[in-house]
C-alpha cells in the first residue's frame, strides 16, 4: 500500500489538506478579500453612500492624480515616512547599540521607559501633544525658559512647523518600538564576532558598521516595514491635532478617506484614495522586504 503511494508525500492527499485550509480561508475571504474587492468596485462609481451609484469609470482615480490638494496629501505622507521611519531608525540604532554595549544596570527599566509610548493609545498621545504644542503650552514654556523666545509659536497653526511638529510626535512614538526590536537583534549577535573584529583592530565605530549593522538587517527591515506603514496610514494623529490644517498643510490620505466617506458623502472618491494608498503601502513594503532579503543572502 505504502509503496503504491510513494509518488506523493506521506500523509493524506493534497486535496484533503486544502479542506483543512478552507475554514481559515473563508474567514480571510469574508473579512479581507471581499471588503477589498468591494472597495475597488465602489471606487469606480460616483456614490454618496445612500442612493443608487452612477458609473464613473476611472474618474475618481484621475482626481487623485490631478487634484493638487489630494496630491499634496500624499506628499505629506511621504514627509511623515521620514519622521516615523527614518529618524526613529537612526536614533534607535544609536540608542540600541549604546544600551547593548554599555551593559547598564537596570537595562529592563530603560527598555520599558523607551517602549512606553507604544502602550499609550494614539488618541491620548494626540490630545497630550496638542496641549504641549499650544501657544501657551509646555513646549513654548521650555523654549522661553532657555531664552529661545523667538522660536516659540503656535506650533500646530504655523504653516512651516505644523507638519514637522506632527511628524515629531510620530518619531517620539516609534523610537521605542524600533529600539526594542534592534536591541533584541543585537542580543543575538555572537560575542565571537566582536572578538574577531577587535583582534583585527576595529574600534567601536568600525565594530558597529562591520558587525552590528549587518547582523540586525532583518530587524531593521521589520522595523522599517512597521513604521513606514504606520506613517502612510496616519489618521488619528492628524484628526486629533490639526484636522489637516493650517490650510491643507498637514492633510494626509487616510484623513481624506475619512473626510470624503463620512463628512462629504463622496464614498467613491474616498474608496479610490484608499485603494491608491493600499497599493502604495503594498509596493513599499514589498520593496523593503525584497531589499532586506536579497542582501541577507
Amino acid at each position: 500500500m505504502a509503496q503504491r503511494k510513494s509518488a506523493g508525500p506521506p500523509g493524506e492527499p493534497r486535496r484533503v489538506a486544502y479542506l483543512y485550509l478552507l475554514p481559515a480561508f473563508l474567514v480571510y475571504a469574508a473579512f479581507l478579500l471581499y471588503p477589498l474587492v468591494r472597495s475597488i468596485q465602489i471606487s469606480l462609481y460616483d456614490w454618496n453612500g445612500n442612493t443608487l451609484a452612477t458609473w464613473a469609470g476611472l474618474d475618481n482615480y484621475a482626481e487623485v492624480v490631478t487634484d493638487p490638494a489630494l496630491r499634496s496629501s500624499f506628499g505629506h505622507a511621504l514627509v511623515l515616512v521620514f519622521f516615523y521611519a527614518v529618524l526613529p531608525l537612526v536614533i534607535g540604532l544609536g540608542l540600541a547599540s549604546i544600551l547593548n554595549r554599555a551593559r547598564v544596570r537596570g537595562l529592563a527599566f530603560f527598555r520599558t521607559v523607551i517602549f512606553l509610548p507604544q502602550v499609550v493609545a494614539m488618541v491620548v498621545i494626540g490630545v497630550a501633544w496638542r496641549r504641549m504644542y499650544a501657544p501657551d503650552g509646555s513646549v513654548n514654556d521650555l523654549l522661553r525658559a532657555v531664552g529661545l523666545d523667538s522660536l516659540a509659536r503656535g506650533w500646530l497653526g504655523d504653516y512651516a512647523a505644523a507638519l514637522p511638529a506632527v511628524g515629531f510626535i510620530g518619531t517620539w512614538f516609534e523610537i521605542g518600538l524600533v529600539t526594542v526590536l534592534l536591541l533584541a537583534g543585537m542580543g543575538q549577535i555572537s560575542g565571537e564576532l566582536y572578538e574577531a573584529a577587535r583582534l583585527d583592530g576595529a574600534g567601536p565605530v568600525r565594530e558597529f558598521f562591520a558587525v552590528t549593522l549587518p547582523s540586525v538587517r532583518g530587524e531593521m527591515a521589520v522595523a522599517l516595514t512597521l513604521t513606514v506603514i504606520a506613517a502612510l496610514r496616519t489618521f488619528d494623529l492628524v484628526y486629533i491635532t490639526t484636522r489637516g490644517g493650517p490650510g491643507l498643510s498637514t492633510s494626509v490620505p487616510s484623513f481624506e478617506v475619512y473626510n470624503r466617506a463620512f463628512q462629504q458623502g463622496r464614498v467613491g472618491s474616498a474608496a479610490a484614495v484608499a485603494v491608491v494608498l493600499t497599493l502604495i503601502i503594498f509596493l513599499i513594503s514589498v520593496g523593503i522586504t525584497r531589499v532586506a532579503d536579497r542582501d541577507s543572502r
Partner: protein, 452 residues
Amino acid sequence: MRSRPTTLLATAGLIGAVALAACTPGSNADNKPAASATGQVTTDASKLGTVTLTVWDQEVRGGQADQIQELNKEFQAKYPNITLKRVTRSFDDLKTTLKLALSGNQPPDVFQANNGRPDMGSFVQAGQLVPLDRYAEAYKWTDRYPEAVRKYSSYSTDGKTFGTGTLYGLPQVGEVVGIYVNTAKLKAAGVNEPKTWADFEASLATLKAKGELPLVLGNLDKWPAIHVFGTVQAQNVQPDAIRTLGFGQKGGSWKTPENAKAAQTLVDWVNKGYLSKDVNGQGYDPAWQAFSKGTGVYLIAGTWLQADLGKAMGDKVTFMLPPSASGTPAATGGTGIPWAVSSKSKHPDAAAAYINFITSPNAMAVLAKNDNLPIADTAEQEATGPLGKAVFEAFGTAVQKNALVPYLDYATPTMADTLGASLQDLLAKKATPEQFLDTVEKDYSGFVSSNG
C-alpha cells in the same frame, strides 16, 4: 511552481468575491415608503393602539440629556399605549451609523438627522424621510415655527434644493452666533456696549490701545473662523444674498465687493492685532476657556457656550447679537439637529405625535429649565441666569426680525473643508482676500452647476 495552488486558490477567492460584489453600490436599498403620504392624520396619540417607537438621538450631554429624559418620561405617562425604545449615540456616531441604518430594512422610526446636504439632503434624495407638511398643518407647527426657522430643515422633494420646499424635520433648540462680552473689562476700559457695527469696530481700536486683547479666537479646529467671518459678512452683505450662498442655491456669487470687504476686514483685524496671536495654533476649547478666565474682552461664538460661560463668569458676561451696520440685525445661526421620521416606519402618525410632544410649548419650558435654548416661544421662557436671559432675548429678536442667515458651510458637501482651510490661509495671510474668494467661489459654483 511551488506557489501555483496558492495562486489558484487566491484567484478562486477573488472571483468569488467579485461575484458577491457584482451589484451596483446602493442598488439593494429598497426605499418604498411603508405608509402612504396622504390621508387623515390622527393627532390623538392615545387612539393609535399599541405601538413601539424606536428613537435614535444624540441628546447625551448635560442639559440636553436631562430635557429629553424628562420629556420621554412625560410622554410615556401620557400615552401608555406607545412604548419608546430609545437608542443614544454621540453626535459623530449617529452621523456615521444613521446612513447605513436608513438604507437597511429596520431603520429607527424617529431620529435626529443633521440639517446639511450630506445628511438630510441625501436622505431626502433617497426617499428615506417622511415629508412633514401634513403634520405641520395638523399640529399647527407652522404657527409656532416661523419660516426663518423651518427653512433649515426644508428641501425640495428631490433633495437638491436646500432651504425651501417641503419640511422634513423639526428641531427643539435654536442657535445663533453673537458676541459674548466681558462686561467688567469693557467697563474698566471705559467703553460702552457698542450699539452699531461702527461702534464695535471703534471699541476694538480703543481696547487694543489700552493693552487689552479685543477679540478671542482659537482656530486650530478650522471651523471657528467660519462663524467669525459669517458675523462680519452679515454686516456687509445683504441677508438674502448670504442665504443664497449659504444654502447653496443657484444665482449667488462670492465674487462681490461686499464679500471682499468682509474678507478684508478680517485681514485688517489680524494686522491691527485685534485677534489672538497664533490664532490658527490655538484650539477652540482652550480659547473660550481662557476667555471665561479673563482673557480678552469679546468672543464671537454661538449660544451653545451659554451654560459654560454663565457658570464660570456669572454676571461679568453678557451676550448680544452682532451690532448691525444697517439697523436691521443679521447673524449666523440656525437650529439644533432636527428630528425626522423614516419613510419605512410603520407608525408615522405615532412618530409625528412624539415629535410634536417634544417640541410643544410645555417641552420648550422643559428645555429652558435645563439650560437649553428653546427654538419656539423663546421670549416667553424663563432663563436660568442673567446670561441665559440675554441669550434668549437675542435669539428671540433674531427670529422675530428674520435676522438669521445660515452657516456658510451648509452650501456644498465640501464647503466646510474649503472654507475652513481657506479662512486659515486668509488669517495667516497665505491668501489674499481675492484668492480666498476665488477658492470659495470655485467650490460654490462648481457644486451649483453640477447640482442642476
